[in-house]
């Protein structure tokens, strides 16, 4: 074997590895669905307060978060049945988002119903968790812009902790749209074009 053959062999290895890693493509659909559900929850909670509608035990949140979990569990099951390979990155991300989801559900429901966390501080607490999840996701994807989204989540959390009130519903809704739904749409478009190639 000579230098040229060795170079060719290394190039071949790189090409196969790159092609195989494409087995894992984040389609952003989960970001979009969860983002929309949270925005609906925030807006309905805001309207309940403004129009003084009695919302026993946050029924709107129970329904919306229930739909979200159902979507995630069914989606994960379908994905498992369909996929032919699993990357380590995929496993890490699955774990990060599952644990973040559980943490947010505990903070949102247990935190507020137990009275340990005042309702107005649920959004900033959730923003802190989302910041962690986006930070790790960005590193795993190798996409700096996703890592940078965490800065937005953490800055928003600081703002909402220091400036509690009705505006929190709007701030959190805007953050959800620009820091989760829009990135989800971008990832969805990227995944579509990658799969087409």
């Amino acid at each position: 074997m000579d230098d040229k053959q060795a170079l060719e062999e290394l190039a071949y290895i790189k090409e196969i590895m790159h092609d195989s890693r494409k087995a894992f493509v984040e389609n952003g659909f989960g970001y979009i669905v969860w983002g929309i559900l949270i925005v609906l929850g925030l807006l309905s909670s805001y309207l309940f307060i403004v129009y003084d509608v009695k919302n026993t035990y946050g029924l709107n949140w129970i329904i919306l978060i229930g739909i979200g979990w159902l979507f995630s569990i069914i989606g994960a099951k379908k994905e498992r049945e369909k996929r032919k390979a699993a990357t380590f990155a995929e496993k890490i991300l699955g774990g990060v988002w599952f644990s973040a989801g559980v943490a947010m559900t505990i903070v949102g429901f247990v935190g507020s119903t137990s009275g340990a966390i005042h309702g107005v501080f649920v959004s900033p607490a959730i923003s802190v968790i989302l910041g962690i999840a986006f930070f790790v996701s960005g590193i795993v994807y190798g996409e700096k812009w996703i890592t940078l989204l965490s800065t937005g989540w953490w800055a928003g959390a600081i703002l909402m902790f220091y400036w509690p009130g009705m505006q929190v519903f709007w701030i959190m809704s805007l953050m959800m749209i620009f820091l989760q739904i829009v990135p989800g749409i971008i990832l969805y478009k990227q995944a579509k074009s990658e799969l087409a190639n």
Binding site: D2, A6, L7, L10, M17, R21, A23, A85, A86, T87
Partner: protein, 99 residues
């Protein structure tokens, strides 16, 4: 361009198909037989033979399960296999650098 003592290269990995299998399994954590077939671009029989050789060398492990009624074989690189692959790539790099 000087010749390299190819005996320094691991014989088990030094085959186009087995090298491709190892490269796929380094990139993904685990892969089903059909995924490997698609990436390596070979026939069922040929792939089976090469996978068996890698299994016998202790470079890959296989987990057999069922998806409904369909049997599914999932392959994974062992730590011995990963080390062997790294050493193989290192030897190729040495050759290029002329050491």
């Amino acid at each position: 361009m000087k010749d390299f003592d190819y005996h320094q290269l691991n014989d088990i990995i030094h085959s186009r198909i087995r090298l491709a299998i190892m490269s796929v399994l380094v990139a993904v954590d685990e892969a089903e037989f059909n995924f490997l077939k698609e990436k390596v671009k070979t026939t069922d029989g040929n792939l089976s033979v090469h996978l068996r050789k890698l299994e016998d060398a202790g470079y890959v492990s296989v987990k057999k399960s069922f998806a409904g009624r369909k049997p599914v074989s999932t392959y994974k690189l062992t730590s011995k296999g990963r080390k062997a692959f790294e050493a193989y790539v290192e030897n190729l790099e040495k050759l290029i650098k002329g050491k």
